[in-house]
Symmetry: C2
Subunit: 180 residues, 2 copies
């Protein structure tokens, strides 16, 4: 495993929460880290295997009542240390997005204004959907998981999503007016 592999650390980090299996990690990521990190099973299972090979985690087969067997992973002291080192490391670069909407907008002189406006409106709708999802998650956390140790940080990352999404929506409104 190479240098910049943050996905490895995402998994390492999730193993410090109640998530102990590949399946649980996937669920957690889809539900809570979705707005700033995504992973597929195609990455999760090989990575977990690798963590064990590298001595950063241990596995353990567990049978459950009413559910199929699963594998439970636990960080080793070495794994905890690696996570901490990674946490301490400064961030080199700001995230870089690929924004299809802005790419199309950049070439919009090849289209009519009406078409461009309609695309911006469509984009705004998706942003609003996303914003509403964030609010739904937020109220779910404040009402049911406030006592969990990560909950506070969870809310802070959601706030980031809300603020930047809102700014993007405002941009949509201003841009639609400009194009009229």
């Amino acid at each position: 495993m190479k240098k910049n592999n943050n996905t490895k650390y995402a998994i390492l980090g999730l193993l410090t929460t109640e998530c102990r299996s590949g399946y649980a990690i996937k669920q957690m990521i889809d539900q809570s880290l979705n707005h700033f990190w995504k992973i597929s099973y195609g990455q999760i299972y090989p990575t977990l295997k690798q963590l064990v090979e590298d001595g950063l985690a241990t596995v353990q087969d567990t049978s459950q009542e009413g559910k199929p067997d699963k594998k439970e992973y636990y960080l080793t002291p070495k794994g905890e240390e690696e996570l901490e080192i990674w946490l301490q490391n400064p961030i080199e670069e700001l995230p870089s997005v690929k924004n299809e909407m802005l790419l199309k907008l950049f070439f919009s002189r090849h289209q009519s204004n009406a078409e461009t406006i309609s695309r911006v409106k469509q984009y705004r709708n998706k942003l609003l959907e996303r914003y509403n999802t964030y609010e739904a998650i937020e109220s779910m956390i404040t009402s049911t998981s406030r006592e969990k140790p990560d909950a506070g940080y969870w809310l802070i990352t959601l706030d980031y999503g809300k603020r930047t999404t809102q700014a993007a929506m405002e941009w949509c409104d201003v841009t639609i007016e400009k194009l009229k």
Copy 2:
């Protein structure tokens, strides 16, 4: 070339501007599309080759005075058509970011608040740098390239970058206060 290859369309689109060579495309992307699209030479040259093979562009060797020879690419009618079809296609998904900062923040209960605050501050500095770059580009455009046909759209994409960056900076300020 497969389905979701927006990079192909980025290049196709840039060939409708004054950019006619791989080198010029790279420069344009680094200078103007940098905040929503990035491409390396490793993608540009093979893609240009492919465009010609697919009949979407033609090449032409050109010798210049005072500079090495270059290859100039021109869209064919088929290429223009493909670009327009892509422009008309609705956007399926909102861009998804991988934000290392938020990933680390999510696991910050393993760190002291002072360390976390210092990371958020560091992030804010980078955001401010980026914001200033946007402003610099903006005033460059308004003072020198206002008459170019893409200039208006260029400014609109910059506005998007400025607004979302500013929202992120405000999040930093609020978050630092929360963590104190």
